[in-house]
Amino acid sequence: MTLFIILAVLTVVSSLLVIFQRNVVHSAVALVAALFFIAVLFLTLDAPMIGILQVLVYAGAIMVLFLFVIMLLNPAALEPRQIPWWTLGSAAALLLVFLLMPALLNTVAPRQAAPAGPGFGSPELLGQTLFGSFVLPFEIASVLLLVAIIGAVVLAKKES
């Protein structure tokens, strides 16, 4: 419980920093921190495999790609703050939270914190589920990744 509160505060603060930092690199570093804290939250939910994958895929690959592109393009100027948009954005976000809040607070877990079975969240069980009832989506996901690779190469390649 204490652990959850600490992690929640850290996650929210670093997510806010992503938005409030005017420098792109600072935003990216804050996002890495946020993703890392979310990965630890995953660990508290008995999902060690997914938590490690989060660090490996998000922090280790996707965010490096972001930083790589930022450094490649190297946009120099700081972004100006525009008050009307900031008001609109904060209003939308607050409205969203307040509309969702009652529903979320009234959600009753079917078996409140049921004791996780042995091996819950382990690589073995994840693999069995993935290659059992989710084989077709898994294969489609691999095709999706292939399409993304080819698409990215075609898009980013210089026209000769």
Binding site: P48, G60, P123
Partner: protein, 368 residues
């Protein structure tokens, strides 16, 4: 409860102590070793009352004092906060990976079984890859925060190189994981205690020789040392991503690099060279395949295992230093071609071949 926490803390402290000191000693080995290779004398000036100790005083006492008392220069137009954060990010992943590497079997003291590994996680090898993937940030962020064109170039090179070789490294380990059927490093080492055909130790290198070559190449590329030191490349980028670093911060980058060498050595040992296994040494002593038996007390067995692990790790550290001082640097397009067009396809092929091999029923006779 308190004793358990104390044991874990003691193990963590011991491992950290050993790794940091080994990293320091490697600095000495590198300077003296390079001198040996290049037919020079090497570090020999600093001495205490005339005692230079083969350059040990120079590299282990004088150098750190020099680093720690130097001015800490931050570029005026650089980013103060990120410039300070980057060396920490470079050192952190290299040190935490050691938490899951087993350095011995079980030590029994007063009826209490102590597994000689800081944390036994069921996804050990993935944890190592996750932490290793974080080590890119030290370079990228440090390079950007320096506000220097040379470091920026070094940072971009480093990011691309490390992400590319991570893929080849992950795929090469896949074959080993398929053979042993687990992600736990302690289990992988235990499985390597068996014998192939009655006499050959079932080490990873004999089961997955191709994976070893791929993994070792990728691991050297991940440590960013010659022949893969493009992010630093003195003759092209002055010193690459750490051009603007001095004093204690530079020392942290430097220690991080040596800690990465130790990590790479320990991983190669654990996955391919039996970790703490000594050939034919069981829990109660030596059982030679041709019939001899030599029973040993428990403590001697454990000490032999830990010693074997240390010797293997130091050997692979030395191999890496030897590589650094004998090979020329790649060109950048060659680095990328090697990673994507050679290592990656071979690693994929290795996975397919291993899978076919396992399915064809060889498993029964070869799986230890």
């Amino acid at each position: 409860m308190m004793i358990d926490i104390g044991i874990i803390a003691a193990k963590a402290f011991l491992v950290l102590f050993m790794v940091l000191n080994l990293a320091g000693v490697l600095g000495w080995i590198e300077r003296k070793g390079s001198a040996l290779i290049q037919d020079r004398i090497g570090a020999n000036r600093a001495s205490i009352f005339g005692f230079a100790g083969m350059g040990l005083v120079n590299t282990l006492i004088a150098d750190p004092i020099k680093f720690l008392t130097k001015e800490d220069f931050i570029p005026p137009k650089g980013d103060r906060f990120l410039h300070t954060l980057a060396p920490c990010l470079a050192l952190f992943p290299a040190l935490v990976t050691f938490a899951v590497i087993p350095f011995g079997d079980v030590l029994v003291v007063a009826g209490r079984e102590i597994v000689l590994q800081v944390a036994n996680v069921n996804i050990g090898i993935l944890y190592i890859f996750a932490m290793a993937s974080l080590s890119v940030y030290g370079i990228v962020i440090g390079a950007w925060a320096s506000n220097n064109k040379f470091s920026l170039l070094g940072g971009v090179r480093g990011a691309a190189q490390m992400v590319s070789y991570e893929i080849a490294m992950g795929l090469s380990v896949l074959g080993v994981l398929m053979i042993f059927g687990t992600l736990e490093l302690q289990e992988i080492v235990r499985a390597q205690g068996g014998l192939l055909g009655g006499w050959l130790p079932a080490w990873g290198i004999f089961l997955q020789p191709v994976a070893f070559l791929l993994f070792f190449t990728a691991a050297v590329a991940e440590t960013k040392r010659i022949p893969f030191d493009l992010p630093e490349g003195e003759s092209e980028l002055v010193a690459g991503y750490h051009v603007e670093y001095s004093g204690a911060k530079f020392l942290m980058f430097f220690t991080g690099e040596f800690a990465e060498i130790v990590t790479a050595g320990a991983l190669v040992t654990t996955l391919f060279f039996g970790g703490w296994q000594v050939p034919y040494l069981m829990r109660d002593g030596f059982h030679l395949p041709w019939g001899g038996t030599l029973l040993l007390p428990h403590l001697v067995v454990v000490l032999l295992q830990v010693g074997a692990f240390a010797v293997k790790v130091i050997f692979f550290c030395w191999v890496q230093i030897l590589l650094r001082w004998t090979l020329p640097r790649f060109r950048y397009d060659q680095v990328m071609r090697l990673g994507w067009k050679m290592l990656l396809p071979v690693a994929l092929l290795n996975v397919v071949v291993t899978a076919v091999w396992i399915v064809l029923g060889e498993r029964a006779s070869l799986r230890p």
